[in-house]
Subunit: 949 residues, 2 copies
């Protein structure tokens, strides 16, 4: 175990340059390497040692991951909450300096001031008791202020740059001389100096990227050199660590059921992120029927239940053994299987042995007119527990997560470490092993309640009873229902209600095993803050439910804690409630400070700061982006039809759209971008429509949100999204697979959905070209195409999600995907048409024209004189007539209006005319006629994509 | 309480640039501010908490003070020894940044590796257990090696200079902006960077001084700014600290003796430095008789006893009360004291009240012919305990030390903090207070033995019994005798003896209260090391007594520990013995490493490194000094008469004299300078006389040492000392008062004593001028005079110490102080002459000549024609005769040979001749004659300085 003590004399900030209003914070960092197998247990004991009784407080592990791109490092883990207050970062380091770590180490970062505040019930870090005579403020405030002043105002920029240069040079010198530890020291100094420069606001756009690149590069070199050094030393620390051994307890030999019996699998884990619980449940629900079928195990009543600490598969009934299996396997032809004396050849023997059937048992039978040797396999079903012993590890291994981690075995990954395994059939324990664990007849209860440690499970009934006794609601649906009911109940106590929020409800359901709702209160004065700020703080930071009445927030919140509460009871836990209230109070106080301070300036005053905020290295700063948006709105405006007033509003909104990104409140809570812009614009005396457009240009901010209600908001948003998509594709940053760090899917979807809901027909190819033109970098035609296809894909998804059939969407989008509003309308029409009873005829008529012509490379002209048969002349005439009708490109109603009358003539044509005439000119004339028909659908829909074509 | 954790990633070195072969060392620094009153007790408890049982181990507080001139900081305290191993630095900070500290704070610097080694019985820091799997070496060695390599070889000098520049500039920037804490941070960075530069060997002579000056300057500015800041804040931490209160215990009211009874005063202290114990004892021995006399207290049997923890005054008998006193005081004249009606005036009333005698009791008596009013005071003697209550604090306050410290009361100073006070007369406690302490009937026993804490003393007998029971030998003479006896006894056990060393014996006597001698052993192989190295390590570093037989060292040592051992018993304490042996082993191993490594090079190879070693900023490097010495020996040689061979040896020795200063062994132990030069010269193939001269040029190294045995050694030493004295005086660094940082007194004394013992007549004025000529700086005539006077003073002291009478020495030195050998001889002669029975006549004859002429401003010529009286003509003739005898300047034998015959003529002259004749020319002629006589003594002696003149 390594213990590091890092008193920070530099502002607490992450590499993105975020800073905190109160900078003083000491982190006590403990590295456990390798993962000792029970780091959470050890950690919780450390809290107890500090005087925090986990039985009294609400302690929770809330998903929180860590990443330092500048150091090529990341890890997964949690924030640990003490009554809602983050007191520790708990991280399983996965990578450092670009090297995958093996073994994985656990990092505990105790927030000393926070823990002290909690222990001492101090509301402000300054009030922490230093000793019996002094407060923390007495001792540290002076230092705090002076180092802040130095970092923010005094540090000489040229000197700091020079320091960085020297530190970097010394780091490289050390690396060249293979002295990796001093090199590492200097990399940390580089990072520290960068932070100082950044705090001074001295790091420009390109420079920042340069610094990051240099630090990442150095870190990687240090990591490589260190690895090499340790390799040379033959990893002297690796084997001495010792293995932890699982205590083996005596258990009686399992007795397996003789008839179908209930089955249970429990995968015990450290706290899973809420999203991962949902993912895992859905994967298990899909995987199990297939696996059980493959295993020939009959079952009934499959349920997948989950809490943050356990994934449970429950079967009401599972067969005691596999069904027997019979199967015939074809072997070689008879004449190759036996020699002239009828003796089996080596071919026969080989086949027999491969099937496990004795040669003598092979039989001869006919197959497609020949005689072959056959083996008849008969597999006796094995007991369920035997096959499950093999299958369960594979089942667990098959579960995948958006982001998974390693802990002990470097070849295994899961959302969070698995810490125990239990599988029962009837009351018999199914033996299996996974991830260094062996299934044992034990489960674990609710943390901190009585038997938080291992609890013996000697039967399946006992299992459910244990969990129930502990207050754990295993069934996520029940748990959610319970929370919903409690929310209603508690809100009603203050005559109010909780705004429904399914996403938060789902998340909270997966944050606790035994939910208890607590109603907390905060000072009415904070209701002056913008509603979005209050709601964001409560929901995003704290996972509290806001309480409101008639659409107006009340000074209450409801938090769901992980404590048992008997059915129908609403225990009051004042200590925990107060703790949570203190946290929200501190956050509101911070917000109030930010908002007040932000409003000292006009919104437009923040614009210069945007030049210091990188959008992307090749695309420049947010200031550069703002300038492009401003140009783009002028170009887009004529295409969407703005009034003169709307245009003025749009232009002003474009100028100010990103200004709030430089405000403290948005730096603190990015999700408030646009919202704060709205309030600050009003505060700065901007016209309300401008403020609204600033807010709305981000709409919809996420799936399910509504789009912009005003055209200026729409247009600024279009310009912003087009610039982002064009720019990021041009910079080679198109999303790949599951990676979409710049949220381009959301941008494209917003583009599509907004145009659809505003019913504005806009050719995305044209406006994308506007955006491309303004970029500071070039874009190849292929990339442009890829970008348009990407947006088309979003449209496709959008239309599918709207419930339209796949083929209908496909037919329309492939033809007119660049006009989302048009495509939406077309899909609506087409989906009605395909339901019509004579649709098959319609489609077939068109299809016949297409099928015979689609492989032609040339488009043939139609010469009236070459028309010979009546049917072809009739068709020609009908087509002439149809073509005279005006048709709006993309309008399916128009298309069908034109095409439907042609159907009888098409039928007549094919019934009476031989297209493939021997005279080439006649033949080509007829093909040209059919091509003219197929061209009618061009730019409107691709009928070949429809089912039945 | 403040706790600092300073992991050092830079080589451990002090500002003088000393480095350690193993650099890794972590110091855990604890600041106790203010002094809590029992810091030693708290510290010892911390050791117990670490598992060090003070009852089993030998723990000692050994004087060791700390000073950082570069930071304007110093403090007094101890090294704490654990079985001979230094494990902690314990310092009372007195000054920092040039500011006297108030309150004083206590700094405990725990040496973590050393403590761990002791706890784990590890012989090497690499063997310390890190945990159950790894050693300290496993974990730290890599880092150790790499950071050393970086510091010694890699760090880029230009970059480090630039870092220093930036840190300094930022520090100043912070100071300008009144941000003192970041400024302080940067000062530490400057210091760190300086250390790196120094380790790289990159700091030149003048540069080093420059760095020191800059750091000191910055430190002072930081300290001033900090003080100002705290003043502005009104010292918010000052009053909150709370006062420690002395537990009051119930005691019965004291009963004081009714007749003369024994008296005891105990001043209980923290461990006093050995020299201070000796000083205090001698001061108390002198002060007490005087004080008791002033107090009119009769006494018998005064003894001043002392251990490191207590100064004790014991009186076998002290009167129970003062003697009564009677005294007459003269008042105003009678006629002013009474009006015409015989009523007392205000003058009488005022006088009466001032004397405490009623007006009616005034009497009238005669004085010098007038009548005056008199008061007859009769003071009844007060009880002894009453007057002692006032006198004892003054007694303690009167004790002064070479260097004293403050701890609680900023106006009081003592050698080390006083922690308890006890004074008994008979069995009665004498109440008094000093330094925040009140005398109480308690003493303290031997540390760690049973009642190391307070022990009640209810009678005087009880006091001695308690100490005796604890094994404390209070009487320093008894303690020394006991140690001497034990030394003999233990050495005899291995058939050997201990070389007598009174200084070490005295020191050790004052390091312990209850001495027990332990015989330890070390590996025979180390006896290969030069004897001086072994002895130095044992004596200077460890205060061990070496053991030898027939002048050859044996592989044993004797250490005196602070543990009780019954009379006649020789307890064996294997744990402590082994601990001490381990320490010496480690030191010997280091020494062996140094010596081996040093000998890889030739002695001459160290010369270039001398250019990097400052002698003094204005006087250049040791390399420069060496060049001057080389020139000087050539100039001095002709004056002292060297053979050709001797000259060659002298020249070579001069070249190499200082080379060993750059060797590791001498850097580690400065006291071995010259000695190592001797060995390394031999190892380098130099002739033995050269090696000897190198060693001897430092002789005598201290009072009592013998001087050089060879002329080359003498001459190089002369040159070295002349250069130092001339140079340092020229640089304005003459010693003042008690300050003699460059040991110029010793240099001058060496000069004097060597010339005397070699009986070489040398005019110091001439050779000093040689030295002055070679200096890189100018010297004023006044300074040159001051320098010569300074040497004269040393000669004076030397001669006085040799037992010659003050006036005799004075008479000679004032006349021929520039020739020590001559003066020595002259003093010997004169001191015989003054004992002769007709000396008075001789002296008087000369005196008469002097007295009448000494105020003359002019020297008058003698013209034979102007001689009138017979007596003057006779004298003239006798003088002519005498002057014809050859007289060596300065030779007293010669002087008396010439002068004695003149005596009758001088007598005749004064009996018969009136010197002050009315005729000016006759008068001046006679005066001139007498002046001629007085001139005989010129350059030989100044008879006016003799007693009886």
């Amino acid at each position: 175990m390594w213990v590091m003590w890092s008193p920070l004399s530099v502002p607490m900030m992450d590499v993105t340059g975020k800073t905190q209003p109160f900078l003083s914070a000491h982190q006590y960092q403990v590295i456990l390497k390798p993962d000792p197998g029970n780091p959470q247990g050890l950690y919780l004991k450390s809290l107890e040692a500090m005087g925090i009784d986990p039985g009294v407080h609400d302690i929770r592990f809330v998903e929180d991951n860590w990443k330092s791109p500048a150091l090529g490092a990341w890890g997964l883990g949690w924030e640990v909450w003490l009554n809602g207050l983050e007191i520790t970062q708990f991280t399983y380091f996965q990578q450092s300096g670009g090297q995958a770590l093996n073994p994985v180490s656990v990092e505990l970062t105790y927030g000393l001031e926070r823990i002290a505040m909690a222990l001492q019930d101090a509301r402000d870090f300054k009030d922490i008791r230093w000793n019996e005579h002094f407060t923390y403020g007495d001792v540290q405030l002076q230092s705090e202020q002076q180092f802040s002043k130095y970092a923010f105002e005094l540090a000489d920029v040229d000197n700091m740059r020079e320091l960085y240069r020297i530190y970097e040079e010394e780091a490289k010198r050390c690396l060249d001389a293979k002295q990796v530890l001093p090199a590492h020291d200097y990399v940390l100094k580089c990072s520290h100096t960068f932070n100082l420069l950044d705090t001074r606001g001295a790091v420009g756009v390109t420079e920042r990227q340069g610094f990051f690149h240099r630090m990442r590069d150095l870190s990687r070199q240090v990591a490589d050199a260190y690895l090499e050094e340790r390799q040379t030393l033959e990893f002297p620390w690796l084997d001495k660590g010792g293995k932890q051994s699982v205590k083996s307890r005596k258990t009686s030999p399992p007795s397996y059921p003789k008839k179908p019996a209930p089955f249970l699998l429990e995968i015990g884990t450290e706290e899973l992120p809420s999203g991962d619980v949902v993912d895992a449940v859905s994967q298990l629900e899909k995987a199990l029927p297939k696996i059980l079928k493959d295993l020939r195990l009959e079952y009934q009543g499959l349920q997948v239940l989950a809490t943050p600490r356990r994934l449970v598969v429950s079967l009401a009934e599972l067969a005691e053994r596999q069904e027997d299996m019979e199967r015939r396997v074809k072997g070689p032809p008879k004449d190759r299987a036996y020699d002239e004396n009828g003796k089996p050849t080596r071919a026969a023997e080989g086949f027999a042995s491969s099937t496990g059937v004795p040669v003598s048992d092979l039989i001869i039978d006919e197959f497609q007119g020949g005689l072959y040797v056959w083996a008849e396999e008969r597999k006796k079903g094995l007991p369920a527990h035997e096959v499950l012993s093999d299958a369960l590890p594979k089942l667990i291994e098959s579960i995948t997560f958006g982001q998974s981690m390693r802990w002990n075995d470097p070849s295994l990954a899961f959302s969070r470490p698995i810490r125990w395994l239990l599988a029962l059939h009837g009351d018999g324990l199914i033996p299996f092993s996974y991830a260094g664990l062996t299934a044992r007849p034990f489960t674990r209860g609710l943390r901190f309640i009585g038997g938080g440690e291992e609890l013996a499970v000697n039967s399946l009934d006992a299992y459910f009873k244990i969990l129930n006794d502990q207050g754990i609601i295993l069934d996520q649906k029940q748990r959610m229902a319970r929370i919903s009911k409690d929310l209603v109940h508690l809100a009603a106590k203050v005559g109010a209600e909780v705004t429904p929020d399914q996403r938060l409800l789902t998340e909270v359901t997966h944050l606790v095993e035994s939910p208890t709702a607590l109603l907390g209160e905060f000072e009415v004065a904070y209701l002056d803050l913008p509603r979005e700020v209050l709601v964001s703080v409560m929901k995003k930071h704290q996972r509290y439910f806001p309480v409101e009445k008639d659409g107006v927030l009340l000074p209450y919140f409801i938090t769901i804690v992980n404590k048992p509460s008997g059915d129908g009871e609403y225990p009051e836990l004042p200590l925990i409630t107060q703790g949570n209230a203190d946290v929200i109070l501190a956050r509101f106080a911070d917000a109030k400070y930010f908002v007040k301070d932000d409003q000292e300036k006009q919104l437009a005053d923040y614009l210069p700061a945007l030049d210091l905020l990188t959008f992307q290295v090749d695309l420049g700063s947010m200031g550069d982006k703002t300038k492009r948006i401003r140009i783009l709105v002028d170009m887009i405006a004529p295409l969407v039809g703005l009034t003169k007033d709307e245009l003025a509003v749009t232009q002003r909104a474009a100028e100010l759209a990103k200004a709030d990104l430089a405000s403290q409140m948005v730096v603190e809570m990015t999700s408030l971008q646009g919202v704060m812009g709205y309030y600050y614009a009003l505060n700065s005396g901007e016209k309300e429509p401008v403020a609204v457009a600033i807010r709305e240009h981000y709409a919809p901010a996420s799936a399910g949100d509504s789009g912009p209600a005003t055209k200026p908001g729409l247009v600024v948003g279009l310009a912003d999204r087009l610039d982002s998509l064009a720019g990021l594709f041009a910079a080679g940053l198109a999303p790949t697979g599951s990676k979409d760090p710049f949220a381009q899917r959301r941008a494209a979807l917003g583009l599509v959905s907004n145009l659809i809901s505003w019913k504005i027909n806009l050719d995305l190819a044209i406006v994308l070209d506007f955006a491309i033109k303004e970029l500071p970098i070039k874009m190849s035609p292929e990339t442009r195409e890829a970008c348009l296809n990407f947006i088309n894909d979003r449209l496709h998804h959008f239309l599918r999600d709207a419930g339209f059939p796949h083929d209908v969407v496909d037919a329309v989008v492939s033809a007119q995907g660049n006009d989302p509003a048009g495509a939406y309308q077309a899909v609506g029409v087409l989906s009605e048409w395909v339901k019509k009873k004579d649709w098959e005829v319609t489609l077939d008529s068109f299809a016949r024209c297409v099928r015979i012509t689609r492989d032609l490379e040339k488009i043939h002209s139609v010469t009236k004189d070459l028309l010979k048969e009546k049917a072809e002349k009739d068709l020609y005439k009908a087509l002439e007539k149809a073509s005279s009708v005006e048709m709006k490109a993309g309008d399916l109603e128009d298309f069908f209006k034109i095409f439907t009358p042609l159907i009888p003539f098409i039928t007549g044509f094919f019934d009476n005319v031989l297209v493939m005439h021997e005279d080439q000119s006649v033949r080509e004339n007829r093909l040209g006629l059919l091509q003219s028909i197929t061209r009618l659908a061009e730019s409107t829909l691709d009928l070949t994509r429809l089912e039945g074509f």
